[in-house]
């Protein structure tokens, strides 16, 4: 044990006494990775000793504590907003799949979001939807009016800003109103399930995903096809929303609960039907002028000759 004598420092009183009290404690562990070091190196101060104790004795406890907590930074730092983008690619795909295949009895929020709401999905799904609706509407109008001689193609760029306003307002204001309403009802009736604002925004954002392929398919200029698409999209996303919010209002007064679900579905219907009506021209109306133009031209030709 000559090494222990070499390492004893006279100045650091507390360490010297502890080493003297426990001479078997190893100061440097070279043997191997399997053993946990009790003290690491010659201590240089009392602060270091506290660290050593933590690392030596409470190793497992500390890691468990860190795993359970989420670091919460104040809202003016960048890291605060990074917690809302803490999703991987496969998680986003899973959430989108969950919004496309509503399983009765399975709650979208509990199953997929699991207290990790993200803002990536809602934001970029809404952005894609805005451009999908504007571009599809423009394309569909172009194809409908294709044969007409008096039609001059315009890109209708103003409709992009209108679409953006409508969709982002729906995706943020309706969840805000719903969250406020649920908060108010929670203060009156004790509900088992309650959602945070971001989880509601998340559900609404992902439920709008079905409208992207619907908007692209709305290019087909057949009224029947368009209305079938509206019904299907409404059925899928409406049921996702209804199944998510039914547990939150179930314990309430029967009428209030039903009214809430009906309002949610009604607003969703209003959005889809309104977008269809405003951005996509009706297909059959414009076939009449083409047949009327031809007789006029023959009459003019007859008159001029």
């Amino acid at each position: 044990m000559a090494a222990v004598d070499d390492l004893q420092f006279e100045e650091f009183g507390d360490v010297a006494t502890s080493l003297a009290a426990n001479p078997d404690a190893t100061t440097i562990n070279i043997e191997g990775p399997g053993e946990t070091p009790k003290r690491l190196g010659p201590p240089r101060g009392s602060g270091r000793q506290e660290d050593d104790e933590l690392l030596g004795n409470d190793d497992s406890d500390k890691t468990e504590l860190l795993a359970g907590q989420k670091k919460s930074s104040p809202f003016w730092t960048f890291e605060y907003y990074q917690t809302f983008f803490d999703v991987d690619t496969y998680q986003v795909f899973d959430r989108i799949k969950g919004s496309l295949l509503p399983i009765p009895g399975k709650n979208f929020v509990r199953l997929y979001i699991r207290s990790n709401p993200d803002l990536y999905g809602p934001f970029w799904i809404c952005a894609t939807l805005v451009f999908a609706i504007a571009i599809s509407g423009n394309l569909s109008n172009f194809l409908i009016h294709l044969g007409e001689k008096t039609y001059h193609y315009v890109p209708e760029f103003r409709k992009v800003s209108i679409a953006a306003t409508i969709i982002y307002a729906y995706a943020w204001l309706v969840p805000f109103a719903l969250w406020g309403f649920l908060l108010w009802r929670n203060s009156k009736v004790m509900n088992i399930v309650s959602y945070s604002f971001l989880e509601i925004v998340c559900v609404y954002g992902y439920s709008l995903f079905i409208y992207i392929p619907t908007a692209i398919l709305w290019i087909i200029p057949q009224k029947a096809v368009r209305w079938i698409l509206v019904m299907m999209a409404l059925g899928i996303s409406g049921s996702v929303l209804a199944m998510t919010f039914w547990p939150a209002v179930r314990e309430d007064n029967r009428r209030v609960a039903l009214a809430t679900i009906v309002t949610i579905v009604l607003l969703h219907t209003l959005l889809s039907v309104g977008c269809l009506a405003y951005f996509f021209d009706a297909p059959e109306v414009d076939h009449l002028p083409t047949t009327a133009v031809v007789p006029n031209q023959t009459v003019v030709a007859a008159k001029s000759s």
Partner: protein, 216 residues
């Protein structure tokens, strides 16, 4: 304690050498020489840097030049060119036409800023201005597509005209995506690459749509 006996610090290892700060006197000369040089030299140096980056976009290889020496001159020039050529004329009184100058400008710059914020929020380690620089420079193929489209539109309108324009725009759109992905993809964590690349795809798709639907 067997291993401890092998550790020994001998007291008499001489440490000697020279500490010099090279280039110090030369840096002073360099500074004053850029101050005294002719205006042409200064402008040509910046123009050459911008031109070199254009070449890197046209032939995308994995290199760090775009990221290391970023500048925003190229993106500004490209954005202004694109917005000037895409805007509808002032004599056009229709309400629903193509985008105005301000709309194109805002879409490009706010789109680039949003994509940069998105990639930083997802945990990428690229700086704000480096990302803006890459996104701006990779608009170059689409600007070339717009010039070609304007030339093609001088010819007779018809389906062949449209198909030529469509083909050119699609090719340049793919080129932009490949160029920007070559520079941006490495800065993302590997399990989020698709999440960071998709907004770039949407951004260039919207610009391509504006170019394709341009009618003079």
């Amino acid at each position: 304690f067997a291993g401890l006996s092998d550790i020994s610090i001998s007291q008499d290892i001489p440490v000697e050498g020279e500490i010099t700060i090279p280039m110090r006197s030369r840096i002073r000369e360099f500074d004053s020489s850029t101050l005294n040089e002719s205006v042409q030299n200064t402008i040509m140096r910046d123009l050459k840097a911008v031109g070199k980056k254009f070449m890197h976009v046209l032939y995308p290889r994995k290199s760090n030049t775009l990221l290391r020496d970023w500048d925003l001159w190229g993106p500004l020039v490209l954005c202004v060119t694109l917005a000037l050529m895409l805007q509808r004329g002032s004599a056009d009184s229709e309400n629903d036409g193509g985008p105005q100058f301000a709309e194109v400008f805002v879409i490009i710059w706010f789109g680039a800023v949003t994509i940069t914020l998105n990639s930083k929020l997802l945990g990428g380690n690229i700086s704000f201005f480096q990302s803006l620089c890459v996104l701006g420079y990779c608009i170059l193929p689409l600007t070339v597509a717009l010039l070609v489209c304007r030339l093609v539109l001088l010819a007779k309108p018809g389906p062949i005209n449209f198909i030529v324009r469509l083909f050119v725009v699609i090719m340049m759109f793919a080129w932009s995506i490949v160029a920007s992905t070559a520079f941006l993809a490495d800065s993302q964590p590997p399990n989020r690459k698709a999440l960071a690349v998709y907004p770039v795809f949407l951004f260039y798709f919207v610009i391509s749509w504006m170019i394709l639907t341009f009618t003079p």
